[in-house]
C-alpha cells in the first residue's frame, strides 16, 4: 500500500500542496479531482519523485511502510515502472515516435532487467493483446503515428502495467480522447485494476468519470484536500462547498431560450471535400472523403450543434463554412452570398470563429489589444478601434487593462474569453465554435457557456457549435447534427435527438457519455 502522510510541496516558496494525507489501497480506484492548478498533477509527481527543480517537499510518501520520498534518484528510478506506473494525458508525446509499439513495451521490461530480449518481446506482444490491441489489426510492429489516440493510450497503459506495479497513476488519461474511446479506455483501466489487484490513482477534473470509476474520491482545492470519502457518499452528500460547486458545474446548463424560427442564415448544399492521403513515391494517391454530400441550414439566432468522433469531418466542415478551404463540390451561402476562400472582406466579416486550443490560437509575441483588433483588417481600422477592443473585452468579462498584457499571462478560460472578444469585435452574424470549450475545466467551462448564452441573447448571434462532448452540445444548442465518416447521419432538435436517437452512431455517442450518478442527491 502507498500512503501519503502530511505531504506538502512548495515550488519556489509558493505552496502548491498542503498537508495531504491519502491511502492508496490495492484493488481500489481513488479519484483525485480538482480544477487545474489545484495540485492534482503535483501530487502524482511527488509520489513518483519527479518534482521539478526548486520544489521543496515535506511530509512523507511510504510504500508498505518504507519511506520512498527521501530515496536517492537512482533507487527511485528503479522503483518507477516496477512499483509505480504512470499514464499521461497526451499519448502521442508519451511515446517515442521512432520505436515500434512492441519495442517500446519490451524496452520497459528490459530496462528493469525483468526479461531476456526474446522473452521481453513475447511478453510485450501478450501485454498489447491484454490492453485490447488485436495483433491482426494493430501488430506490435506498428509505429505510434499509425495508431489512433485511443490505441496509443492503450500502448501507454501496456507500458505502465508491464512490470505489474502496485500503483498505477493515470493523469487525465482520457481528456484528449473522444467520448466513445474514453469509455473503452476507462473500462480497460477498471478491468486491469480488478485483475491485477493494483491501486489506481485516477486524476481528473471530470466528476462524471470519477462517479463511474472511483471507489474513493479526494477533492483538491488550491493545494488543500477539502474532502475525501467513498465516492457514492461524497457525490450524494458533499460536505465541502467546493465539492458542491464542482458538482453544480458538472451538470451545468446555461439558462437560454431556444430559437429556431429565424430566417435561414447559412445554407450548405451538397458539400463534398476529398483529401489526398498517403502520397507515396510509388503508391497511387489514396483519396479520403472528408465531407460527403453534406447539406444543412442554420437559421438566424439559432445555435446548431455538430457532433461526431474525431476524424469524422467536423473541422473540415467548419473550415469550409469559414471560407478557409475550398469545396470539391457543392455550395455554401451565408446571408445569400457565396462563401469561398476568395470571398470579399465584406462577406468574410459575417463569420468569425473560436478554436479549441486556448494556447495556440494567439500569436505569443503580440499583446491582447493587438490580437483582439486583428479582425479590423476586414473592415478597415475604425478611428475608435482601441475603444471597441476595450468594449469587446468588457463584454466577455475582462478588464480594459488586459489589452496591454500578453496571452500567456492568462488562464485557459480567460484566453477563450479573449478569443471570443476577438471574434465579436467586428460584430459577425455567425460564430463558429470549434471545440471551443473542450480544453477547459468543468467549472470554467460552465462560466464560458453562460457567457456564450448571454451574448447570443443580447446580440442575436448564430452559433455553429462543434464538439465531441455530448453534454456541452446539449447545454448550448437548439438543433443538432450528428456526423460519421463525412456524412450527416442524424439531424433534429437537440432535446428530441438526445431523448430518442435513431441512428446507431448517435446512440453509441450518447451511451459513451460518463453519467454522474448521485444516489440520493437532491437539487443538483
Amino acid at each position: 500500500m502507498i500512503a501519503l502522510d502530511h505531504l506538502s510541496v512548495r515550488l519556489d516558496g509558493v505552496p502548491v500542496l498542503q498537508d495531504l494525507s491519502l491511502r492508496l489501497k490495492p484493488g481500489r480506484v481513488t479519484g483525485l479531482v480538482g480544477e487545474s492548478g489545484s495540485g492534482k498533477s503535483m501530487t502524482a509527481l511527488a509520489i513518483m519523485g519527479l518534482l521539478p527543480a526548486g520544489a521543496d517537499l515535506t511530509g512523507q510518501v511510504t510504500l508498505d511502510g518504507a519511506q520512498i520520498s527521501t530515496l536517492p534518484e537512482r533507487r527511485m528510478a528503479r522503483l518507477r515502472g516496477r512499483e509505480i506506473g504512470m499514464v499521461f494525458q497526451e499519448p502521442m508525446t508519451a511515446l517515442d515516435p521512432l520505436m515500434t509499439i512492441g519495442a517500446q513495451v519490451a524496452e520497459t521490461l528490459r530496462i528493469h532487467r525483468a526479461a531476456s530480449r526474446a522473452e521481453a518481446r513475447a511478453r510485450a506482444a501478450a501485454l498489447l493483446i491484454r490492453v485490447g490491441l488485436d495483433p491482426d489489426r494493430v501488430p506490435p510492429g506498428r509505429y505510434p503515428h499509425e495508431l489512433s489516440g485511443g490505441q496509443r493510450q492503450r500502448v501507454c497503459i501496456a507500458m505502465a502495467i508491464a512490470l505489474r506495479p502496485r500503483l498505477l497513476i493515470a493523469d487525465e488519461p482520457t481528456t484528449a480522447l473522444d467520448v466513445t474511446t474514453q469509455a473503452h479506455v476507462l473500462a480497460l483501466l477498471r478491468r486491469l485494476v480488478a485483475e491485477e489487484g493494483m491501486a489506481l490513482l485516477l486524476i481528473t477534473h471530470d466528476l462524471a468519470v470519477v462517479s463511474q470509476m472511483a471507489d474513493v474520491v479526494a477533492v483538491l482545492h488550491q493545494g488543500w484536500l477539502v474532502e475525501q470519502g467513498a465516492t457514492t457518499r461524497v457525490l450524494a452528500r458533499p460536505a465541502h462547498s467546493h465539492t458542491r460547486a464542482l458538482l453544480a458545474a458538472t451538470g451545468h446548463r446555461p439558462a437560454r431560450v431556444a430559437r429556431t424560427e429565424g430566417a435561414p442564415l447559412l445554407r450548405v448544399e451538397g458539400a463534398r471535400k476529398d483529401y489526398v492521403a498517403g502520397r507515396g513515391l510509388f503508391a497511387a494517391p489514396r483519396r479520403v472523403r472528408a465531407l460527403d454530400d453534406v447539406s444543412f441550414t442554420l437559421n438566424r439566432g439559432e445555435s446548431l450543434g455538430l457532433v461526431g468522433e474525431s476524424g469524422c469531418g467536423k473541422s473540415t466542415l467548419a473550415r469550409a463554412v469559414l471560407g478557409l478551404e475550398p469545396l470539391d463540390a457543392g455550395h455554401i451561402a451565408l446571408a445569400d452570398a457565396p462563401v469561398s476562400p476568395s470571398m470579399p472582406a465584406a462577406q468574410r466579416r459575417r463569420a468569425q470563429a473560436v478554436f479549441q486550443d486556448p494556447q495556440g490560437s494567439f500569436d505569443p509575441r503580440q499583446r491582447v489589444g493587438r490580437l483582439v483588433a486583428e479582425p479590423f483588417h476586414l473592415t478597415g481600422r475604425p478611428a475608435d478601434a482601441a475603444e471597441q477592443v476595450i468594449a469587446a473585452l468588457r463584454a466577455v468579462g475582462l478588464k480594459a487593462e488586459d489589452a496591454r498584457r500578453y496571452p500567456h499571462q492568462f488562464s485557459g478560460g480567460q484566453r477563450q474569453r479573449i478569443a471570443l472578444a476577438r471574434a465579436l469585435v467586428i460584430h459577425p452574424d455567425l460564430v463558429v465554435l470549434d471545440e471551443a470549450v473542450s480544453a477547459l475545466d468543468v467549472s470554467v467551462r460552465g462560466r464560458v457557456l453562460d457567457l456564450l448564452a448571454r451574448l447570443q441573447a443580447e446580440r442575436g448571434l448564430s452559433y455553429l457549435f462543434i464538439s465531441h462532448d455530448m453534454d456541452v452540445v446539449r447545454a448550448i444548442t437548439d438543433r443538432v447534427l450528428v456526423m460519421e465518416a463525412g456524412r450527416i447521419v442524424e439531424a433534429g432538435p437537440t432535446a428530441q435527438v438526445y431523448a430518442a436517437p435513431r441512428h446507431p452512431r448517435t446512440r453509441a455517442l450518447l451511451d459513451a457519455v460518463p453519467r454522474l450518478t448521485q444516489a440520493g442527491a437532491s437539487g443538483v
Binding site: D12, P52, A53, Q352, A353, D363, E374, H377
Partner: protein, 277 residues
C-alpha cells in the same frame, strides 16, 4: 516567475565578440600607427611601448594591422550575412507560405543546387573570375549564405504555419505575405538571429581563407587572412606574426559560436528550463 538566467556560453562569447567589434569600430577612427605605413628600418621589432605587438617584416605596426584587419574581416562577414539573410529569409518565407506547391519545390531544389557545390571552391572561382577584391569576396560568401537562411526560415515558418493563430489571421482576411511578415517572421526571429551569429563566424573564416590565398582583400587593405599569409614564411623566426592574427580569428569565431549557442538557449523557450506556475 524569476527572470531566466543568462546561459554561460553567452557570458563567455559576448565579451570576445564585443572585443573584436570594439577593435573594428575603433579602427574606423584611430589606430596607434598608420597600418599601411612602411618603415623598413623598424622591421621585425619585438613588442615594446611604441609597438605593443611589435612590427612585421615591412615595419608596419602589428596592433594597427590587427585593428584594421578586424574592420575588414567583420565588415566582409557582416555584409555577407546581410546578403544571405536579406535574400534567403524572404525566399524561405515564400516557400513556406506556398508549401507543397511547385514554387516551394522550385525554391528548395534551387537551394539544394547551391548546397551541392563546395562553397569555398566556388568562392575561389568567383573571385578568380571577377578579380580578387574584398567586394567580390563579400558577394561570393553572401551567395552561399542565401540557401542556409532560406532553409532555416522555411523550416521554422512551416511549424508556425500549422499553428491555430495563423488560421485566425486568415479568418481576418490576411494574405500569405502579410501573415508571413506580421506573424511568422517575429516568431522565427530568434532562430534567425542564432543562425546569423553562426554564419557570421563562418564568414570570418571564409574571408580569412580567401585573403590567405590572395583572393580577398588586396594590399594595402589589411586583413587577418593576409596577415597570416604574409607571416607564413617568417613563422620559424617570428611566430608572433602568425599567432596574433591566428588567435584573433580563433577567439572571434569561438566567441561567435558560443554566443550563438547561448542565444539559442536563451531565446528558445523549449530549451530554457520552464518555471512551473
Amino acid at each position: 516567475m524569476s527572470r531566466a538566467r543568462i546561459p554561460l556560453p553567452l557570458w563567455l562569447g559576448a565579451p570576445l565578440v564585443a572585443l573584436a567589434l570594439g577593435m573594428a569600430l575603433l579602427a574606423l577612427v584611430w589606430t596607434p600607427h598608420d597600418p599601411a605605413a612602411l618603415a623598413i628600418g623598424e622591421k621585425l621589432r619585438a613588442p615594446d611601448w611604441t609597438h605593443p605587438l611589435g612590427t612585421d617584416h615591412l615595419g608596419r605596426d602589428v596592433l594597427s594591422l590587427l585593428m584594421a584587419g578586424a574592420r575588414t574581416s567583420l565588415a566582409v562577414a557582416l555584409v555577407a550575412v546581410g546578403i544571405g539573410a536579406g535574400l534567403g529569409v524572404p525566399l524561405g518565407l515564400w516557400a513556406a507560405a506556398r508549401r507543397g506547391t511547385w514554387i516551394d519545390d522550385l525554391l528548395m531544389r534551387a537551394n539544394d543546387l547551391i548546397f551541392a557545390f563546395p562553397s569555398l571552391v566556388i568562392a575561389i572561382l568567383i573571385t578568380a573570375a571577377f578579380g580578387p577584391s574584398a567586394l567580390n569576396a563579400i558577394i561570393a560568401i553572401g551567395i552561399f549564405n542565401i540557401p542556409v537562411f532560406a532553409r532555416v526560415a522555411r523550416g521554422g515558418a512551416l511549424t508556425i504555419w500549422s499553428r491555430e493563430f495563423i488560421l485566425v489571421a486568415r479568418l481576418a482576411g490576411k494574405g500569405a505575405a502579410r501573415i508571413s511578415v506580421e506573424h511568422v517572421l517575429p516568431n522565427i526571429a530568434s532562430l534567425l538571429i542564432v543562425q546569423a551569429t553562426i554564419q557570421f563566424s563562418l564568414g570570418i573564416l571564409a574571408e580569412a581563407a580567401l585573403s590567405y590565398v590572395g583572393l580577398g582583400a588586396q594590399p594595402p587593405t589589411a586583413s587577418w587572412g593576409r596577415m597570416l599569409a604574409e607571416a607564413q614564411t617568417l613563422f620559424y623566426g617570428y611566430p608572433r606574426l602568425a599567432i596574433v592574427p591566428g588567435l584573433a580569428i580563433v577567439l572571434t569565431v569561438l566567441g561567435l559560436n558560443l554566443m550563438g549557442d547561448g542565444l539559442r538557449d536563451h531565446l528558445d523557450p523549449r530549451l530554457r528550463q520552464r518555471a512551473v506556475q
